[in-house]
Subunit: 282 residues, 2 copies
């Protein structure tokens, strides 16, 4: 492995792999990506702010010791709760998933009514409405917690009767409310894009926070002169996983790896490769 | 609070409250029940055996320091993985939820084909088939992991379209396979009893591990001369929550209490009362 500092991608578990996938598509193949999933303590969404901040710093310090030049907080809960403190404390750029998703939604909306879906913790935090108000003060935000989407995505039930009924039930309130843009405010949700799109109906733009985040990370690295040499994979913007990117990156988890490998492959769209079990509490 | 030793009830989170409810119904009102939910680290079902055993001992030691005469491991994952070690180490009776559920299923079955549903970890552990073989070696066991039932129960979606579609999808394989008894091998599942019963079809006895466990706990306490004086609430066997029992018990959690109070009330069938945030890692 090269010793050049990499880009840390930190999530409470497996969902951040959708962000990693988007980063792979947006960054030059020579960028080293270090993914940390705190699988021993996932989920963060039901934990107190104090606990989430403590865990966030443990993970950030672990990745710092491994050598990184930027940190992506690929978890909405952690972004909502711990980002400002991390940004103050760390000596490199720290990018969360909420700001980029909010910014992309503000660019996309014409009706200025924006829907946001996420975990209970993310919705309760009010982080998306705050971030949207920063970019587009006149926007109205309608938020809805969709806790079952996460276990559905992990179960691989992304296009069956249950997934469709769940999406219909959660999104019934949002339909017809004038929203023209819906932020997928949880890293698991891109897997359910199809049923979410069907349930919310035509004419609503889905904003994938993972893709929006990858775009912002690239911009920040360029601004700071930190971007590695080499072009991004063809069709870099989003979604596609360049074959050239395969094998880039190292995966750290804090608990058993078998399920992570199996479910992770679905999230990443390709096998993960090497996986290392680590203790980040030290 | 009385200083008489109580009965510890330890779960990874909130599901064990269905066991606490059954214990309240089965034990004299003077029994003190100490519930510990390791809500900071829930769920255990996706964690490695080593981690689950370590957490189990931390919880058991915490409750021991608070003064208990018996420990109920009200979590299938922990019962499957850590029970023998806890039983060897602790100086008082330790009862899990798997043995009692298996025993009750063996008494109920006539076809000797028993279905078991639980989390992925519980099913993978093979603990139910082993426990059933101990009581009824000629029984055949058909097991099925139903990971979505836990978030459904916590969301309170126990009788809507999504719950019914989920139950139908999971239980399709088990229908018509000759099973006449189905073990609800997860403490969350009693909340979904109705849709599970509909999906599995008529003529199948549902075995509620929580009720079976409460019956075994009472028997063990009587055998050891440890049962507190006083009669059990009227209609003690199961399900009903005696009004006289209200207020008995103390609730410890390792992380934020708000959601636990809200969801817990659904599981317990009544408000929880006092709640104490504790650190059990010391």
């Amino acid at each position: 492995m090269s010793d050049a500092p990499g880009i840390g991608v930190f999530d409470s578990g497996i969902g951040g792999l959708t962000v990693l996938k988007a980063l792979r598509a947006a960054l030059p193949p020579s960028e080293r990506l270090l993914y940390l999933g705190d699988t021993a303590r996932v989920p963060y969404g039901t934990k107190s702010d104090e606990t989430v901040v403590r865990y966030a710093f443990e993970g950030a310090r672990f990745l710092t010791r491994r050598g990184i030049k930027a940190l992506v907080v690929a978890c909405n809960t952690m972004s909502a709760v711990a980002l400002p403190e991390l940004q103050r404390a760390m000596p490199f750029p720290v990018v969360g998933v909420i700001g980029p998703g909010a910014e992309a939604a503000c660019r996309a909306t014409k009706s200025r009514v924006i829907g946001v879906i996420g975990t209970a913790a993310t919705v309760k935090s009010g982080a998306y409405p705050r971030a949207i108000a920063f970019h587009l003060p006149e926007a109205r935000v309608v938020a809805r917690a969709c806790p079952l989407f996460v276990p559905l995505a992990e179960e691989g039930w992304v296009d069956n009767d249950v997934a469709r009924a769940t999406a219909r039930t959660y999104l019934a309130d949002l339909r017809g409310g004038g929203i023209d843009t819906l932020v997928l405010g949880c890293t698991h949700y891109p897997l359910l894009k199809t049923v979410i799109g069907e349930a919310i109906g035509p004419g609503v733009t889905l904003v994938d926070s993972a893709e929006a985040t990858a775009t912002v990370v690239r911009r920040r690295l360029e601004e700071k002169g930190l971007l590695a040499a080499g072009a991004a994979p063809a069709g870099s913007a989003a979604g596609a996983t360049g074959g050239a990117a395969a094998g880039r990156g190292h995966f750290y988890v804090t608990d058993s790896s078998e399920r992570f490998l199996e479910v992770g492959q679905r999230f990443l769209g390709q096998p993960l490769g090497s996986l290392e079990l680590v203790d980040i509490t030290g």
